[in-house]
Amino acid sequence: MALMMLTSCEKEYLDTKPTDQVSIDTVFETVDGAWVALDGTYRSMYTSLTNHGNFGQKSYDLMSDLMGNDMVVHSAGYGWFNPEYQYTAIQSVNNDQRPHRTWFYYYRLINNANRILDGLETAVGLDADKQNIRGQALAIRANSYFYLVNFWQHTYKGHENAPGVPLYTKGTIEGAPRASVQEIYNQIVADLTEAETLLDGKPRKHISHINAATAKGIRARVALQMEDWATAAIKAREARGTIAPMSAANYQAGFSKPNSEWIWGLEVNTEQATIYASFYSHIDPYSGGYATLGTQKKITKELYDLIPETDIRKKVFVTPGTGTTTVPDYAAIKLRLPTAGNWMGDYILMRAGEMYLIEAEALARQGDNAGAQAVLNTLIKARNAAYDASALTGTDLINEILLQRRIELWGEGFSLLDIKRLKLPINRPTGPGNHDPGLARILTLPAEHPSFLLKIPLAEITSNPAISEADQNPD
């Protein structure tokens, strides 16, 4: 008995490990583990976060469109995204509000990318794998900084020295101050440049993975924002390569299954779908989600009327007079779940159509009217056979490209960044078929108004010694 008392349990008795988590060291023992970390990072781009208004990249894309001129909210419904539409959500500094969640979303991506870049150095594996993973992590980081700097500051041009966002290139617990917009863009360009090289010729394992073409597409977007027209045109063309515009049938197929035009997208299966907290819940009036329950998203009558009758893009909006209570007139039926009865539906992040438009605009702005016309015609003729932009030059041509951009990319998340880079005001049309002032609240805003800027979340100001209330964006 005394023996029993003196016999201690073995030392291992008190060593326990979780079964739903794994140690940091284990992850980066080999490149196989680094691939797993990379895929987890991509997953975070379409999981839900905190509430039904956050579901990864598409929630911030939706915010971007709702802050623009061309997307109308049918009624208050359950209220999700109303405050974004009304420009109040981005003013709130509190936890779980839009700026707080957006900030966290992108910095979580950056941290995971940084930790992959750090861990990869000692991971055992083939160089080709290491290059592929490194290239993707760099591109994820660059893409994240691109959204952060554009949400928290005005556009690049004219604001190069304005405060951007904290910049981290390593996993750390030391807070950084707001780097300048220029510094952020320097990092973005450097990361994308390296990523393009590393990813060149590397096989892609999944459509969610960033390959060389995707990295170039991101580079084209960045160049467009920087008004670096030459780079924008080159990278946009390289990104789309030989991809032709999708067919009319594909354009009306819901944008929720990859087709020939997709360059980058996130695959969402039924198991990983986020149900009510998903993009299609908020954008597809047939989903049974919030877009069925009042917050149907509609195109403005103003923009709708600018689409020619023969243009297939008019068919992805409900023809006035044919609407129903749940799918009303002008409601977007462009972005739809592929099958009724489950929430499986992929998220589009980049497609060739956008690259055509970037290239056309960049060429036109460099004075290459003919080149721009040709690129524009290639894309738009696929939507409307009768289309011809060959007569347009100079500003008219640029304006036409911008109009086509609004039509072609409606609902895909480009409004806010375009308004910012073009230094446009908010000017929302009202009246039947357009915005309801009672719901929209904000009908006009001058260009580069402080209201366009998301507030730095209070959680950042209180936790980061390098950022104080004085660094907050203006009211």
Binding site: P18, V36, Y276, L293, G438, N464
Partner: protein, 1046 residues
């Protein structure tokens, strides 16, 4: 019903056994002289023989005596032994005198043993079975409130079968657990408290200070609640049958809300005011009053308004634009009550039978019970079967062994969603505007028949029925809760075995192995026809938790008396093991209604599983010494290792010292009004290792972040190898006394300092990992507690006893990782309490325009407040201020127990004075004008140009910046509850004896008879934090019961 039959059979069996017994029987009752309280467990022996029995719970006994028997001997610890000549009497009633000399024989349970009450140096309170069985509650956690000092208890809400939450002496932790350690029959208990039948409980002890609890080391910081189950007594077998049947109704009333007519007028006003505040985009100037009135009149019943129109005229003719009131001749066609549709008066049944007894060398206790508790909301209920078998045997003079087995099957239906989920019936029914009906109506207000069933069709708030209801569209809980399944089925079992040997005269070695099995299957099924999952044809989730834990200990005790010196020295080793397996899967797409299994559903939506592992190991020793029961000394030490911490820091030392001085034993204390008086003090350190995570120190990546078919992980935590338990230094000083042979009591002061408090210390938010767990705070809880018992009247026929207890504590944070931590309605700062409200301060209403106003600091040039305050009509610009704490000033209870002849009557009143409660439910009902949401009647007093001096701001739809969390919704949390009334009648023993029964007691009880709160509808006892929203309201129960002893 089957179970009731079964019990009846058992009952009958026992009865037959009784009738068959052949002997002369003497019955009677043993009470305490003075207060007349029946004494259970008194040994009744025929003098000069081994024949005997023990009294039952109500003090009655029945003993077979030889014809020539002369004398019965009554023995009871703490009382003077009495011998009574029987003669030819068949009834012998005896009153035993308290024996102060024998008080030392009252023993109380302490960790790993027992100690004489008089020799105990710690702070402890005992709740007897008698106090528990008066209350008709399913979980014993709900019976503790108000009975002993130093304990604060929530009401636990109204979910059938749920438990209350208990705090001992303040709030011990900020982020780790503040729950006390529960010990059942000496073994750490990991099951649910409601799995223990109250009829099986012999006593509950609350251990409060270091001397009492430090031997439990790393788990004792928040106090210990020791539950001891009943055991058989030597003597004749007894059978006790308890049958209780009751009805429950809602205790906390619903808030008063406006009716349909008022609602339409008010919403019209809110819509008009919204328009008045807007700019007409056509003219670029604000809308004129005429335009606003015309707009509201036209649109109030429209798509962007209320959508529904319950009146007999078209929606745009309901309101008179000139007055804002209903037009003459506008009549309401219908108004359904969602409460009436979903709430009900519910039944409660609680039946228990136990058989107990013992022979010379062994004793046994067998108990069977059944509880069926229906919820006061439809589709919610709880039922439970429980059984227990306890057997102890003295195998030889030096060897004892025993086993205690219990098992419980329970089933809970209606585990509703909480918070603002549409499927939460409390949120749903409270906030549904009055104009929205339960059943669909046509334009004339007539019911619409369901084409399939022919019954009145429910209204789901869909565009295809009466319109897209602006509040909780596409839902009808009367319909969906019926079709949904939110249930929990549990199997719980405990097995507890010991072997004890005595050797070398003074040594005892005891080893105990005690285990818990907890298995819970949760089904969450959203039906395929209506509501949230109709678009995917139903969604079903099955989740299973299978938890096994055990404690294995070996304890060696040395007990020695040398002259007047008494020693008890104890040493031991213990290890604790817990594995908790969780698995869940969800699928959707069901082919037929009524099926909720996984395979029939076509679409896989997700699955998960993991195991949590927890291990502890400890070595401990303690010393108890007294000199002549006058000078008392105790000390304990324990070294615990925990799997929650990194190997270099996982072992910690915990200890206590205590001393006592029984001043009444001194020869100079000659005052005869002092029966007993003991001064005592203790100090020591205990731990709290119950951090929220089992693996908080480890740097980890979360698994399961799979990218379609490719496995994925993301980083979830950074390592902290220094992380360790929270430490609690506990000082206690107290006096126990008994005076005038009438009053006894305890007064104590305590000061608990919690150190190394765990905080999720914020890392710079943009680094992507937002927090890291660190030991970074300190907090103290200090206060006093008083317990008094007063035997006001003690006569043969009439007794009256009053028990009063009260506790007061202050909580103060003394160290934080940051200057301040804001969390919800609270802000933590050094010098403040854990539950200090830090919210905006409401400054009333601007009489000129009806704006809600909030105080705002004027900032000086240095950016700091100058002390001057102004008001703002934008709540977001209002400054936040400390506005009091949720911690009450005083909590406690008062019990009045009366007996008149065979009637007994008791009333327990519990109370909590002071403190604040933020009533989020009320706030939700005072919105400025959300179309569809219900309004409290207080909104009738809103600001209007005619009603300028009010504290309710004007109504205005979509006025986002004038309403929110502020002192406007902060109320005095004071409450008092008539927690239990119990009126009983005990059949005279001779009468009972005639029908072959030992005793019969019938009673009527009301639990939660009356609740006083400062505001109607408020439920301030729901939480310790002073906030609670949309929870299951607690209920009042009327019970008729019968206790029969055979």
């Amino acid at each position: 019903m089957k179970k009731v039959l079964l019990l009846n059979f058992l009952f009958l069996f026992a009865l037959l056994g009784q009738v068959m017994a052949q002997s002369r029987t003497v019955t009677g009752k043993v009470t305490a002289a003075g207060d007349g309280v029946p004494l259970p467990g008194v040994s009744v022996v025929v003098k000069g023989t081994t024949t005997g029995t023990a009294t039952n719970a109500d003090g009655s006994f029945s003993v077979n005596v030889p014809a020539d028997a002369g004398t019965l001997v009554f023995r009871y610890i703490g009382y003077v032994t009495k011998e009574v000549a029987v003669g030819s009497n068949s009834t012998v009633n005896v009153a035993l005198e308290l024996d102060n000399q024998q008080l030392s024989e009252v023993v109380i349970s302490v960790p790993y043993g027992t100690v004489a009450k008089t020799a105990f140096t710690g702070a402890e309170s005992t709740i007897t079975a008698r106090a528990i069985e008066k209350q008709q509650v399913t979980s014993v956690s709900r019976a503790i409130e108000g009975l002993v000092p130093g304990v604060q208890v929530t009401n636990g809400g109204g979910q059938p079968g749920s438990s209350a939450t208990i705090r001992v002496r303040g709030i011990g932790s900020v982020n780790a657990s503040s729950d006390p350690l529960y010990i059942v029959d000496g073994i750490a208990f990991d099951g649910t408290l409601s799995s223990i039948s109250n009829d099986d409980i012999a006593s509950i002890q609350v251990l409060k200070d270091a001397a009492a609890s430090a031997l439990y080391g790393a788990r004792a910081a928040n106090g210990v609640i020791m539950i001891t189950t009943k055991k058989g007594k030597k003597g004749k077998p007894t059978v006790a049958v308890n049958v209780r049947s009751g009805l429950s109704e809602r205790l906390v009333p619903e808030y008063d809300r406006v009716n349909s007519q008022e609602y339409y007028e008010l919403m019209w006003e809110a819509m008009r005011n919204n328009r008045l505040a807007a700019v007409n985009p056509a003219t670029k100037v604000p809308y004129t009053p005429d335009e606003a009135v015309a707009y509201a009149t036209e649109n109030i019943g429209g798509k962007n308004g209320l959508v529904y129109n319950p009146f007999n005229v078209p929606a745009n003719q309901v309101i008179n634009p000139a007055t804002g009131k209903l037009n003459p001749g506008v009549n309401l066609l219908y108004e359904d009550s969602w409460e009436d549709a979903l709430f009900r008066t519910a039944s409660r049944q609680d039946i228990n039978m136990n058989v107990s007894g013992g022979a010379d060398k062994s004793d046994y206790f067998l108990s069977l019970g059944y509880v069926n508790e229906k919820g006061i909301v439809k589709f919610s209920d709880y039922d439970r079967f429980n059984g227990r078998l306890k057997v102890n045997s003295d195998v030889t003079d030096w060897l004892k062994a025993g086993m205690n087995l219990s098992s419980t099957l329970s089933s809970t239906d209606g585990l509703f969603a909480d918070g603002t989920a549409t499927s939460n019936p409390f949120y749903y029914t409270r906030n549904m505007g009055p104009i929205y009906p339960v059943w669909q109506r046509d334009a004339s207000g007539n019911f619409v028949k369901d084409p399939v069933t022919g019954a009145n069709a429910l209204d789901w708030g869909k565009a295809t029925q009466m319109g897209a209801r602006p509040y909780a569209g596409n839902s009808n809980l009367l319909g969906s809760l019926d079709l949904d399944d939110r249930s929990l089925r549990r199997v719980e079992a405990t097995a507890n075995a010991f072997v004890e040997t005595k050797f070398l005269k003074d040594f005892t070695f005891r080893t105990t192995l005690g285990g818990n099995i907890y298995d819970a299957l949760t089904v969450t099924f959203q039906n395929s026809l209506f509501g949230d999952a109709d678009n995917v044809k139903g969604r079903g989730t099955k989740a299973n938790t299978r938890q096994i834990s055990y404690t294995f200990n070996q304890v060696l005790t040395y007990n020695k008396q040398i002259g007047s010196h008494n020693f008890t020295v104890l040493g031991g080793h213990e290890n604790y093991f817990l594995d908790s397996d969780f698995v869940t899967a969800t699928r959707s797409g069901y082919p037929f209604p009524g099926i909720s299994e996984l395979a029939p559903a076509a679409t896989a939506e997700g699955s998960n599983s993991y195991v949590n592992k927890h291990r502890l190991e400890g070595y401990f020793t303690s010393l108890n010494y007294d000199y002549n029961q006058k000078y008392l000394l105790s000390a304990s030490f324990r070294r615990d290792g925990s799997s929650r911490f990194y190997e270099d820091v996982r072992w910690g030392n915990f200890w206590s010292v205590g001393g006592g001085y029984r001043i009444s034993e001194e020869s100079f204390m000659t005052a005869d009004w002092i029966d007993d008086m003991k001064l005592r003090a203790s100090y020591g350190e205990q731990g709290n290792e119950a951090l929220p995570s089992y693996y908080a120190w480890q740097g980890l990546y979360s698994l399961g972040w799979n990218n379609v078919g490719r496995p994925g992980v993301i980083i979830s935590s950074l390592p902290n190898q220094e992380l360790q338990w929270e430490k609690n230094s506990n000082f206690n000083v107290g006096v126990d006394f008994s005076l005038f042979n009438k009053v006894e009591g305890t007064v104590e002061y305590f000061n608990k300092v919690s150190d190394n408090l765990l905080f999720a210390v914020p890392l710079p938010y943009s680094t992507g990992i937002t927090t890291r767990d660190e030991n970074a705070g300190s907090m103290k809880n200090y206060g006093f507690e008083v317990q008094l018992g007063y035997n006001a009247i003690r006569t043969a026929d009439f007794d009256w006893r009053i028990d009063v207890n009260m506790s007061r504590y202050k909580n103060e944070i003394t160290k934080l990782p940051q200057e301040e931590i804001i969390s919800g309605t609270k802000k933590l700062m050094v010098g403040r309490s854990i539950y200090d409200f830090f919210i905006r301060e409401y400054a009333g209403v601007d009489p000129n325009n009806g704006d809600a106003l909030y105080y705002k600091d004027v900032l000086g040039e240095d950016g700091k407040p100058t002390g001057e305050r102004i008001t703002t009509n934008n709540i977001n610009q209002g400054s936040q201020y400390y506005q009091g704490t949720a911690i009450p000033d005083l909590v406690g209870g008062v019990t009045n127990s009366l007996r008149f002849k065979n009637f007994d009557f008791s009333v327990l009143v519990t109370y909590s004075l002071g403190g604040k409660f933020y009533d989020g439910n009320y706030a939700t009902l005072m919105h400025p004008g959300s179309y569809g949401s219900a309004w409290h009647k207080d909104i009738l007093n809103r600001w209007t140009p005619e009603n300028r001096n009010t504290d309710v701001p004007r109504v205005q739809n979509a006025l986002a910046t004038q309403n929110g969390i502020s002192s406007r919704y902060l109320f005095d949390a004071t409450w008092a509850n008539v927690k239990n009334i119990n009126l009983g009648y005990t059949l005279p023993t001779n009468l009972a004896g005639k029908v072959g029964l030992n005793s019969v007691r019938a009673f009527l009880a009301v639990d939660n008879a009356y609740l006083y709160t400062t505001e109607k509808g408020m439920d301030p006892q729901r939480s310790f934090t002073g906030t609670s929203d949309f929870t299951y309201p607690p209920f009042r129960t009327y019970t008729f019961g019968l206790n029969v002893n055979i």
